[in-house]
């Protein structure tokens, strides 16, 4: 009798152990709804193959992404896979949050189609800890109807800042003759660090300036070229008066809404707005192109987006990578992302049937070539003094030169901690 019960117990334990070993689950975090769809498709595929491997998705809103990830890391409860804002990767790599996936990346057949600039943000000492997953690029959006009304060629957006100033002056009007301007040639998002960086850094780069040097150790914002870029920006408001006088307080939604209601003729935006503009104002006739360059400079753009990374302490590294590969596959990048108006991150997939339907996407293949993002483990902390200084210059309180010199001082102080 005793031998029988021991046998039963052993069988139960063995079955349970096998059961546990067979049902593997990974946790995937992202701020984008498209990844939720991807997880559902992954689980469907696993089920179809008779496997018990599953992924569990948790949507982490953009606003709270950093807080929750920090809390999870501190508690040892980090997700197996996380899709995280690209500019935060240098910091998280500096504390060793992610797994080295260099060899896995090099083994991919589409390795050369991954944007190098993005890979660099996830790189430490020649090893990669994140793979480009989604990409956002900044460009200039213009309202073709307003161009026509102003006598400008709607198919010829400004290429340089001088041209933009010229066009914007024709586009800034007092439409209802009440003595106040109610249509502006250009909209500036003055109030948000993130939007300023996304839109304004390419301007600085095009002027030959920069915020930091290549590895983020030296402050370059007080160089004459950077100051020249800010001077032009401030002139748009106060000298040429083509942007609202209080631009320093305009939120992104303010400028966006202004463009959609056709009170703002041009603004800096990103690829994602191609779809959202169509939702909010289907009759809006707009185009999107490179951010204008300085007279003697090159076009530039900011490559935002996410890198996907695997947690260093994951217990399911292989399953996690299996999911990552799935998310990077052509099916997902085209059918989930390109279909919803986002750019596929693999340059070999730009030529897809959804983009063929709307010619406006095509320019982004070219914009991707000139796009970059700054590498810094103190990204947010360094940009804050820059934004404050810019706002004071934009409000006319101090000169652009003074502004960036003050900012440089604050930034150097932050770097020393």
């Amino acid at each position: 009798m005793k031998r029988l019960s021991i046998f039963v117990v052993v069988m139960i334990v063995a079955l349970a152990a096998t059961g546990m070993a067979m049902a593997q689950t990974i946790v995937v975090w992202d701020r984008e709804v498209q990844t939720e769809e991807t997880v559902a498709l992954f689980n469907a595929k696993m089920e179809a193959e008779g496997s018990s491997k599953r992924a569990e998705f948790q949507l982490v809103p953009y606003e709270q992404q950093t807080q929750l990830f920090l809390a999870a890391l501190a508690a040892g409860n980090a997700p197996d896979v996380i899709s995280l804002d690209i500019i935060l990767h240098p910091y998280f790599n500096s504390i060793g949050a992610f797994l080295d996936i260099t060899d896995r990346i090099e083994a991919l057949e589409y390795r050369s189609a991954l944007p190098e600039g993005m890979l660099h943000l996830g790189e430490v000492d020649g090893r990669y800890y994140g793979i480009p997953y989604t990409v956002d690029l900044s460009g200039l959006v213009w309202n073709k109807t307003l161009f026509r009304e102003a006598g400008l060629d709607p198919e010829r957006p400004p290429q340089t800042w001088d041209e933009l100033i010229e066009y914007a002056q024709l586009l800034t009007k007092d439409v209802d003759n009440d003595g106040e301007t109610d249509q502006y040639g250009f909209g500036i998002v003055g109030s948000s660090a993130g939007w300023q960086m996304f839109g304004f850094m390419p301007v600085v780069w095009s002027f030959g300036g920069d915020l930091l040097n290549a590895d983020g150790t030296e402050v370059l914002i007080d160089s004459p070229q950077s100051i020249a870029a800010l001077q032009m920006w401030v002139d748009l408001i106060h000298k040429y008066k083509v942007a609202p006088v209080n631009s320093a307080t305009w939120q992104y939604s303010d400028v966006y809404n202004g463009f959609v209601t056709e009170r703002v003729a041009m603004m800096l935006s990103g690829n994602y707005n191609i779809i959202t503009f169509q939702d909010d104002a289907p009759d809006l006739d707009f185009g999107i192109t490179f951010i204008p360059r300085a007279e003697h400079g090159q076009h530039a753009s900011f490559s935002g987006g996410n890198l996907m990374a695997i947690s260093r302490d994951t217990k399911q590294a292989d399953l996690a990578w299996e999911f990552v590969e799935f998310a990077m596959s052509e099916d997902i990048q085209v059918e989930v992302w390109a279909k919803s108006g986002a750019l596929p991150v693999r340059t070999d997939l730009f030529d897809n049937k959804y983009f063929a339907q709307d010619s406006r996407f095509a320019v982004f293949a070219d914009i991707l070539e000139v796009a970059r993002a700054p590498y810094s483990t103190k990204y947010n902390e360094l940009y804050a003094p820059m934004l404050t200084a810019m706002q004071r210059a934009m409000m006319g309180e101090i000169s652009p030169e003074q502004a960036y010199q003050d900012a440089a001082k604050d930034m150097k102080r932050a770097l020393q901690y």
Partner: protein
Amino acid sequence: MHNLQGVRRFFSKHRTGMMFLTPAVALNLVFFVYPLVRVFQMSFYNWSVLGSNRFLGLGNYERLVNDPLFWKSLSNTVIYTLIVTPGIFLLALALALLLNHKSPLTNVFRTIYFVPVAISFVVASLVWLWIFNELYGILNYVLSSLGFISSRVSWLGSTWNARLSVSAMVIWKTAGFSMMILLAGLQGVPVECYEAANIDGANARQRLLYVTLPIIRPTFVMALMVSLIGSFLAFDHFHVMTQGGPANGTLTIVMYIFRTGFEYFNLGYGSAMSIVLLIILIVLSLIQTRSLQSDTVE
């Protein structure tokens, strides 16, 4: 009484009080005091989420004292609190007094004034951000259509404008809540007190000043303290409507703590600021209680 006998006598004498208090104290200790102690610990380190923490002693506190942005955000918060609190209370008191009568529509009116309280702060902020926009916002549109203003007002365009506009939004949103608290207090005023006052020939103003206000004083003090502390912790509306701008003119202390911890990853420094904020608020509350509190009214 440091001997065991004395302690045991103390516990048995106050046993009932302690038992009534236990659930609240238990929750408080486990879910508040314990994490707070950890935060206190963190404030002495250059604290990193993974990996090693560098012990700084009082380093974070020294840094705080010398940080101009800390003081600026603190003064922004104080200014905002000074604007908003009287606004909320004058309106709430007026509404509570107005609606302290029984009339067929009183319940409806009260509910309507409570409606703004029922939405989330984030949604309210988004809606008002839209209303306040100088170019296409409704407020300017309505005011200029009615002829009240001749040129567009930039409601959020400068530091003081932003402070006042956001304060107006907060007053709109929270007056109903304070109204509710004051109403509950007003209901506790026995009818006999009013009747006695009438017999003595008091008019409405005298009734208000000498009967109503003294009796609802504890309620008033409580509502005031809750509102004050809440204003000190202001975050959501400024975050959505001004992002602390322009040039940090509306940066509140909690926004700065949030940024320091979750955008600059200086968690130890953020913890130190939280501790200092807590101490400031405790001191403020003690001062307020001492100067305004009266004993329960018989």
